[in-house]
C-alpha cells in the first residue's frame, strides 16, 4: 500500500479515529459502544497507520509499546475488580459514586467505567501487538534470509 495519497491522509485521519474510539468507549454505557468496540476502532486506526507508513513509524506514533499497553489494560481491569474488596464486598462488585463534575453536572462514576477502560487498552494492546509481530516477521521474511 505504497500510495502517496494514503500516506498523506493517514496523519489526519488516524487521530480523528482515535478520538472517536475514546468517544465510543465513553458513550458505551448508555449507547452502542464500549471498551471492546472502542479498542477495536483504535486498533484499526493504528493498523491503518502501520499499513500506510510502515511498522516502525506506527510504533513511533504509538509511543507506548503494545506489550506495556495490554499489560496495563489487564491490570487496570483487575484493579477495578479488586477495588470493591477493600470496601468489604466480593470481587468485581460494581461501586458507584455520584461525582460533581464542573460543566457537566452530577455524573455517576463507578468501577465498571475503569473496567471498561482496562478492556479498551487490553484490546488495543493485544491487537497491535499481534499486528506488529506479524508485520515485523513478514518484513524479515521478505528481506531476511537472502
Amino acid at each position: 500500500m505504497n500510495s502517496y495519497l494514503i500516506r498523506m491522509t493517514v496523519p489526519w485521519l488516524c487521530p480523528f479515529l482515535l478520538v472517536m474510539s475514546i468517544w465510543i468507549l465513553l458513550r458505551g454505557h448508555n449507547a452502542p459502544g464500549g471498551g471492546f468496540i472502542g479498542g477495536l476502532v483504535a486498533a484499526a486506526a493504528i493498523a491503518f497507520w502501520c499499513f500506510a507508513r510502515g511498522v516502525e513509524d506506527a510504533k513511533r506514533w504509538m509511543r507506548v509499546s503494545p506489550l506495556h499497553l495490554m499489560i496495563a489494560g489487564v491490570s487496570t481491569a483487575l484493579i477495578s475488580g479488586l477495588m470493591p474488596m477493600f470496601a468489604g464486598k466480593p470481587m468485581l462488585t460494581a461501586l458507584w459514586h455520584k461525582v460533581e463534575v464542573p460543566l457537566l453536572g452530577k455524573l455517576p462514576l463507578g468501577t465498571p467505567i475503569l473496567f471498561d477502560i482496562g478492556v479498551f487498552f487490553a484490546v488495543v494492546g493485544v491487537t497491535t501487538s499481534i499486528l506488529f509481530s506479524l508485520e515485523e516477521f513478514e518484513l524479515w521474511n521478505r528481506s531476511g534470509p537472502s
Binding site: H29, L78, M91, A94, D116, T127, E136, F137
Partner: protein, 779 residues
C-alpha cells in the same frame, strides 16, 4: 490484620526484588533479610507470650462458595512460622554471600520471597481453598528455584520432576480438601477440626483420607515418592537448605499435623501414616551415610527425618506428639546449619565430594565449629536440643502399640545410621591431614558463616534452658495438633530410664558404624549397588513413565493434528458430524421440519442471504488467496447486517471492525500460506465440498432446533430490567460486559493477552534465531 499483611507485604517485596537486585547487587540480601527477621521478632515479641488466644482474621472472598480469606495463628502455626522466619532470615543473608554478584540475584530473591510468603500463608490459612492455593504456590516457586540454573539440563529435568510429583499430589489434595469441606459442611479449618465424628462416619471419608495423604506424601517426599528430593539438590545450596530440608518439604507434615484431630481417628490413619513414615525413615537413613556427595547425604537424611515425623504423627500415642514438635524444631535448626556448611565447603573448596575434603579445620575454623556443633545436635548428644528430640522420639517408639517392636527397631536403625551421616558431614571433612582441593580453601565472609554458626549454637541454650522456656510453647503446639488444651513441660533430664539407655545404645551403634563406615561402603558397592539395577530407582521409573507419556502425546498429536489446517478442519468436522448424528439418533430428537410461520416475508433477510451465498460462491471460485479473503470479508459484513436488522447494534459494530481487522491481518500473512494454485485432486475437492455442505446443513438444523427448545426463562429479561437500576447504564450489552458478567470479560482479556504474548514470543524467537544464524554465517 497482621496475618494477611505479612503475606501481602511478602508478595509485594517479591515483585520488587528483581529491581532491587539490579540496583543494589549483593546488598539486596541483608536488606531483604530484614523482612523475615521482622516477622520472627514480631512473632517472639507479641505472639509467643499470648499463645492461649489464637490470632484470627477473616474477610469475605467468594461468599457464595463459602470461601473466605480466613487466617488463624495457633500453636502449630506459631511453631512453623517461628522456624520458617528464623531460618529465612539467615538463608536470605547466606544466599547473598553464596551467589555474590550473580546477575540474577534479584530473580532468586523474587522466588525466595514468593516462597516465603506462600509458606507463611500456608501455615496460617484457615480456609481449605486458601491453604491449597498457598500449597501450590510453594510447589511453583520450588520449581523455579530448583531450575534456577536453567542453562543446565539436569536442573530443568529435576525441577520438572519435582513439580510433576508435587503437582500431581496437589491435584489429589485439592480433591481431598473439597471432599473434606463437603463432608464437614464448611471450608473453615478451625471449624472442621471440631467435627471429627461426622467425618469418620461419612462414607466418603476413606476417599478423602487417601487423597489428602497422596498430597501430603508427595510433598513431603515419603516413600515411594521420595526420589524427587535428592534430585532437587541441583538447586543452589541456599535453596536446598531452605526449601528442601527446613521448610517446604515440611508442608506435607504440617498438613497432616493440622488435620490430625480430624483424621487421626480414621481406621486407616495409623497403618498408612505410621507405615509410610517408618518405611521412609528407615530407607532414607539406610541410604544416607554411604553416599559421597555432601548434599546427597543430607538429602537422604532429610528424607529419613521426614519419615520420622510422619511416623510420629501416625503412631496415635500421646507421647508421639511432643516428640514430633521436638524433632521438627531440632531438625530444622541442625539441618539448615549443616546444609549451609555443605554449601560453604562447595563454595570455598570447589567440591562436595567427601573423599576430596580433608583436614579443613585450619582453613575454615568458624565453619568447622558450626559443622561440629550441628552434627552433635543431629547425633543427639546432651545437652544439645537434638538430645531431647531423640529421647522424645525413643519414648514415643517405646509406647507404640501398632507393630511396637518393629517401630523400635526402625527408630534404632535410623537413628544409628543418621549418627554416621552426621559424622560424615560435620566432622569428616575437617579432620585428618589437609588435602589440596580444586579451590584454595579459605573462610568466606560473615554473610556465609553467620547462619550456620547461629543455628549450630542455638540448640545449646535451647537444650540447657528447655525447662524454663518450653512450657507454653510446647503446650500450644501439641495442643493444636491433638485438638485439645493441655499443659506440659519438656525437660533436659528425666533421670535414668529406658529411653536414656536406648539413646546411648543408639549412639554406641552409631559410633560402631562410623568406625566401620569405609568397609560398609565398599561392601555395599560390591553387593547391593552393583546388583540393584539402576532402572529400579524411583527417579528412573519416573523418567521412564514421563518419556512414555510424551511419546503417547506425540503419537496422538501426529494422528489428530497435521501440519495443514485443512486436515485438522476435516477431522473436526467429521467428528462433529459423527458424534452429533449418533447422539441425536440415540436420543430420538424430533426434527424441526415444520417451519415457523412468518407474518411478513423477510425481504431484507432474503436479500442479505443472497449476498452471502454469492460471496461464498465467489470465494470458492476465486483464483487468489487475497480475493478469497476479501469475499469472506463480505460474508462477515453481511452477517453484521443481520445483527443490525435485529437491533443488536453493538454486535454489528463489533463484527464490522473485527471483520476489517481480520482481512487486514489475513493480507499480512497470506503469502505464508501454501501456493493457492496447487490444487487438491478432484476427488478430494468433492469430498471437502460434501463435508462442508453437510456440516453447514447440520449446524443449521441444530440451531433451528435449539431455537425451539426453551428449558428455562431466558436470563436476558433480568439483565434488561436491572441494567438501569443496578448497572446505571442504558446499554444492556455493555452493562453485561463490564458489570453483570465482568468476570467473563476479565477472563477473555486475559486469554487475549496470553494469545498476543504467544504470537509475540513465537515471532521473536524465529527472528532471534535467524539473526543469530546470519551473524554466525557472516563471521
Amino acid at each position: 490484620m497482621a496475618l494477611p499483611l505479612i503475606v501481602v507485604v511478602g508478595l509485594l517485596l517479591s515483585c520488587l526484588a528483581p529491581t532491587l537486585g539490579r540496583l543494589l547487587g549483593q546488598k539486596v540480601a541483608p536488606l531483604l533479610a530484614l523482612f523475615p527477621a521482622a516477622v520472627c521478632l514480631w512473632l517472639c515479641a507479641t505472639v509467643l507470650p499470648n499463645l492461649d488466644t489464637p490470632l484470627l482474621f477473616e474477610a469475605p472472598w467468594i461468599p457464595s462458595l463459602n470461601m473466605s480469606y480466613a487466617f488463624h495463628l495457633d500453636g502449630l502455626s506459631a511453631l512453623f512460622m517461628l522456624f520458617i522466619s528464623a531460618i529465612g532470615t539467615f538463608i536470605f543473608m547466606y544466599a547473598g554471600g553464596y551467589l555474590g554478584n550473580h546477575p540474577q540475584l534479584g530473580r532468586l530473591f523474587a522466588f525466595l520471597l514468593l516462597f516465603f510468603s506462600a509458606m507463611l500463608g500456608l501455615v496460617i490459612a484457615d480456609d481449605l481453598i486458601l491453604l491449597f492455593i498457598f500449597w501450590e504456590l510453594t510447589s511453583i516457586s520450588s520449581f523455579f528455584l530448583i531450575g534456577f540454573k536453567h542453562e543446565s539440563e539436569e536442573a530443568r529435568r529435576s525441577a520438572l520432576q519435582a513439580l510433576l510429583v508435587t503437582g500431581a499430589g496437589g491435584l489429589a489434595l485439592l480433591a481431598g480438601l473439597i471432599l473434606l469441606g463437603d463432608i464437614g459442611g464448611t471450608y473453615r479449618v478451625s471449624e472442621l477440626l471440631l467435627r471429627g465424628d461426622t467425618f469418620i462416619r461419612h462414607p466418603l471419608s476413606d476417599a478423602a483420607l487417601l487423597l489428602i495423604l497422596a498430597g501430603a506424601f508427595t510433598k513431603s517426599a515419603q516413600f515411594p515418592f521420595h526420589f524427587w528430593l535428592p534430585g532437587a539438590m541441583v538447586a543452589p545450596t541456599p535453596i536446598s537448605a531452605f526449601l528442601h530440608s527446613a521448610t517446604m518439604v515440611k508442608a506435607g507434615i504440617f498438613l497432616l499435623a493440622r488435620l490430625h484431630p480430624l483424621l487421626s481417628d480414621h481406621l486407616w490413619w495409623t497403618p498408612l501414616v505410621a507405615g509410610a513414615g517408618a518405611i521412609t525413615m528407615t530407607y532414607g537413613a539406610l541410604r544416607s551415610p554411604w553416599e559421597r556427595d555432601l548434599k546427597t547425604i543430607l538429602a537422604y537424611a532429610t528424607v529419613s527425618v521426614l519419615g520420622m515425623l510422619t511416623m510420629l504423627l501416625g503412631l496415635g500415642v500421646d507421647k508421639a506428639i511432643p516428640a514430633f514438635v521436638a524433632v521438627i524444631l531440632a531438625h530444622a535448626f541442625y539441618k539448615a546449619s549443616l546444609f549451609m556448611v555443605a554449601g560453604i565447603l562447595d563454595h570455598q573448596c570447589g567440591t562436595r565430594n567427601i573423599d576430596e575434603l580433608r583436614g579443613l579445620r585450619s582453613a575454615l575454623p568458624i565453619t568447622s565449629v558450626a559443622a561440629g556443633l550441628a552434627a552433635v545436635s543431629m547425633m543427639g548428644i546432651p545437652p544439645l536440643f537434638g538430645f531431647i528430640a531423640k529421647e522424645k522420639l525413643i519414648e514415643a517408639a517405646l509406647k507404640a502399640e501398632w507393630y511396637g517392636m518393629l517401630m523400635i527397631a526402625a527408630v534404632f536403625v535410623s537413628a544409628a545410621c543418621l549418627t554416621v551421616s552426621a559424622w560424615q558431614v560435620g566432622f569428616r571433612p575437617f579432620r585428618g591431614t589437609p588435602k589440596p582441593t580444586p579451590k584454595q580453601a579459605k573462610e568466606g565472609g560473615p554473610l556465609l558463616w553467620a547462619g550456620p554458626l547461629f543455628f549450630a549454637i542455638l540448640p545449646v541454650p535451647l537444650g540447657l534452658l528447655v525447662s524454663f522456656w518450653s512450657g507454653p510453647f510446647f503446650s500450644a503446639a501439641v495442643g493444636a495438633i491433638q485438638g485439645q488444651n493441655l499443659e506440659m513441660t519438656v525437660k533436659l533430664w528425666y533421670g535414668f530410664n529406658l529411653a536414656l539407655l536406648m539413646s546411648f545404645l543408639i549412639l554406641g551403634a552409631g559410633v560402631g558404624l562410623t568406625l566401620k563406615r569405609d568397609k560398609i561402603t565398599a561392601y555395599l558397592k560390591r553387593t547391593v549397588y552393583a546388583k540393584w539395577p539402576a532402572a529400579f530407582h524411583g527417579a528412573a521409573v519416573f523418567q521412564f513413565g514421563l518419556k512414555q507419556a510424551f511419546a503417547l502425546a506425540n503419537a496422538q498429536t501426529r494422528i489428530l493434528f497435521q501440519d495443514a489446517l485443512r486436515h485438522n478442519l476435516t477431522f473436526i468436522m467429521v467428528v462433529f458430524l459423527g458424534l452429533g448424528f449418533t447422539i441425536l439418533k440415540i436420543t430420538n430428537v424430533a426434527w424441526p421440519f415444520n417451519p415457523v410461520p412468518l407474518d411478513n416475508p423477510p425481504l431484507f433477510e432474503l436479500m442479505i442471504g443472497l449476498v452471502i451465498v454469492a460471496a461464498i460462491a465467489a470465494a470458492i471460485r476465486a483464483q487468489s488467496m487475497v480475493v478469497a479473503a476479501a469475499c469472506l470479508g463480505v460474508v462477515g459484513f453481511a452477517v453484521s447486517c443481520f445483527f443490525m436488522i435485529h437491533g443488536a447494534i453493538d454486535l454489528a459494530i463489533t463484527q464490522l471492525v473485527i471483520e476489517t481487522l481480520t482481512v487486514l491481518l489475513f493480507v499480512l500473512v497470506v503469502h505464508r500460506f501454501p501456493d493457492f494454485n496447487t490444487k487438491e485432486s478432484e476427488l478430494r475437492r468433492r469430498f471437502d465440498a460434501l463435508l462442508a455442505a453437510a456440516s453447514g446443513a447440520f449446524m443449521t438444523l441444530l440451531i433451528w432446533k435449539a431455537d425451539l427448545i426453551q428449558l428455562q426463562d431466558p436470563i436476558s429479561g433480568y439483565f434488561a430490567e436491572n441494567s438501569m437500576t443496578k448497572g446505571y447504564g442504558q446499554n444492556v450489552v455493555n452493562v453485561i460486559l463490564v458489570d453483570f458478567r465482568a468476570l467473563d470479560t476479565l477472563g477473555e482479556i486475559v486469554v487475549l493477552l496470553i494469545a498476543a504474548l504467544g504470537v509475540y514470543s513465537l515471532t521473536r524467537q524465529k527472528l532471534k534465531k535467524a539473526k543469530k544464524a546470519t551473524e554466525g554465517g557472516a563471521a
